[in-house]
């Protein structure tokens, strides 16, 4: 879903909690607040653990946490878990890498040097990006079979359009004042491109990349469920077919943690890379 110009978090988006900090004891406060969110998750996990024993939930369908952890431990001990995580990661990273390599240079070139062509192509690109990749699944299977190629193609296709559309949006919406200022200070075309347009467009490109990464994880799982013999999606699918319920939860939590870790990593990279950009509060 290429939602250009939409602010606010996506499903996988990072939240920006506001931390009050004009007090003298701001440090203590912020520490407490950071711990606070851990209290929350501890309470949540505790509730999960004891709910079946209290009869709040059915232990067969929502097994207590200890059972899930035990099963995860078993999978980790025999090394199976890492095989699944590795093959899932590999697919996501390759698909995402290909999408980035294709979309960012193409988007920058297209919108940087052929703005009129870009404006002409934009509706088509946005429609293609809005087409539900899930609906195209059968088509990918027809074209690429059920092997690794098809999965990579699905991940590539689904993450391509958010990245491409946000790149184009970023380059097309650079503040004209910045460009005029650079020009009046005598910057040449190449200089403007590298020193003004790219840095100004980078936040938007990053937003696209984050969106692409979220979508890539989503479709990785979908692709692995349709046909695979390794990967976290396969793990869940297989456990579900065998009615082995704790293992479903292992897979679900594994993917959630993997996705969150990846999001955090991207956020850190973004912070490093976009240090020139002030933190803008979403209003």
């Amino acid at each position: 879903m290429a939602e250009i110009g939409t602010v606010g978090p996506t499903i996988g988006g990072a939240l920006t909690p506001q931390i009050g900090s004009n007090k003298a004891d701001a440090a203590v406060l912020s520490f407490n607040q950071r711990v606070m969110s851990w209290y929350g998750i501890i309470a949540f996990l505790l509730l999960w653990q004891i709910a079946p024993y209290l009869g709040l939930t059915d232990g067969r369908f929502i097994p207590p946490l200890s059972e899930i952890v035990a099963d995860a431990g078993k999978l980790i001990a025999n090394g199976e878990f890492f095989v699944h995580v590795a093959s899932s990661c590999q697919r996501v990273l390759i698909g995402l890498f290909l999408a980035v390599v294709a979309a960012i240079p193409f988007g920058i070139l297209l919108s940087g040097f052929f703005p009129r062509l870009t404006r002409f192509l934009n509706p088509l690109l946005i429609i293609l990006g809005n087409i539900n990749p899930f609906a195209l699944f059968p088509l990918f299977i027809l074209l690429f079979g059920v092997g690794e190629m098809a999965k990579l193609a699905i991940i590539f296709w689904s993450s391509l359009f958010p990245i491409l559309n946000f790149t184009i949006y970023g380059v097309m919406h650079v503040d004209p004042i910045l460009i005029k200022a650079a020009r009046s200070m005598g910057a040449g075309k190449a200089n403007i491109f590298w020193k003004v347009v790219i840095p100004a467009a980078l936040p938007s490109i990053f937003t696209g990349f984050k969106m692409g990464a979220t979508v890539a994880f989503l479709f990785l799982i979908a692709a692995e469920m349709l046909s695979a013999n390794a990967g976290l999606g396969y793990l869940v699918h297989n456990a579900s077919l065998n009615n082995y319920i704790p293992r479903i939860y292992v897979g679900v939590l594994g993917i959630a943690i993997l996705g969150m870790g990846f999001t955090m990593l991207i956020n850190q990279v973004e912070k490093l890379l976009l240090s020139y950009k002030d933190e803008v509060k979403v209003t």
Binding site: V7, N132, V282
Partner: protein
């Protein structure tokens, strides 16, 4: 001329598809010409087959979306205003929950709900809930402090502040969340219908592929794409009419 400039690209794309398929440059078995797909849609509408699937899919998507709106907007408002410290407490669990992959959730939902309408609607509900909640929360918690101070100075109680100041001030972001949610609703619905259903557009797509009726498959894909754009267009129009959307443009066909 304005029309051509806006939609020319799409027309070229469709004619290219038609031409390449008719001349056999791309395999017409895998890529039937666009007019054939349109004819298939027409035929399926006449026999009523398409109507059934579209109606069911729309019903599921919209019910899930409305339920998510009913829950997400108040929840976001509460977490963003009165229960800010409670939000700090629940932030991590909420984030974990929002990260749970809806595809995988389906397997768990089937355990509870069987394979009827309920798990599909729940999946749509779950997927829409998070963008709506988080967006509303962001909007509610970042309302201009001066507005709230002014409201308080004029003697509004906390409920009045919520309904008369926070809600209108947050409405652009709430609306952005709703629009995102509606987009996701169709998205996930098709996925849910592919995994376990005997009706709906997702089922139609997968079933026609499995029985190698590619014309039907393309018909379903085109209808899904069209419905997605249509829903986005409708919610955009509603938003433009009833919400303040100063900084937001309609990004699908039209702008630029």
């Amino acid at each position: 001329m304005g029309f051509l400039r806006k939609y020319g690209c799409i027309i070229i794309f469709l004619s290219l598809w038609e031409l390449l398929s008719r001349t056999g440059i791309i395999n017409p078995i895998f890529f039937p010409p666009f007019t054939v797909v349109l004819a298939t849609i027409y035929k399926m509408t006449l026999t009523g087959e398409m109507v059934i699937h579209v109606r069911l899919s729309l019903m599921r998507a919209l019910v899930g979306f409305f339920l998510a709106t009913l829950m997400g907007v108040p929840l976001g408002l509460m977490l963003g205003t009165w229960f800010k410290s409670f939000y700090k407490f629940t932030e991590l669990p909420l984030e974990v929950l929002s990260q749970i992959n809806p595809f995988l959730l389906f397997h768990i939902l089937i355990l509870f709900m069987g394979i009827g309408e309920a798990p599909k609607i729940t999946i749509v509900f779950w997927t829409c809930l998070w963008p709506i909640t988080f967006s509303t929360m962001n909007g509610a918690s970042s309302v201009n402090k001066n507005l709230i101070k002014a409201g308080r100075a004029f003697g509004l109680g906390s409920f009045g502040l919520l309904t008369k100041i926070v809600l209108p001030a947050a409405s652009p972001l709430i609306f952005a969340g709703l629009r995102l949610g509606l987009g996701y609703s169709m998205f996930m619905l098709v996925a849910a219908e592919m995994m376990g259903a005997s009706s709906g557009l997702g089922f139609l797509t997968l079933n026609s592929q499995e029985s190698f009726q590619l014309n039907k498959m393309y018909a379903a894909v085109v209808v899904i794409a069209f419905l997605g754009l249509l829903l986005d267009f409708i919610i955009y129009m509603i938003g433009r009419k009833y919400f303040l959307l100063a900084n937001e443009g309609y990004v699908t066909v039209g702008e630029n």
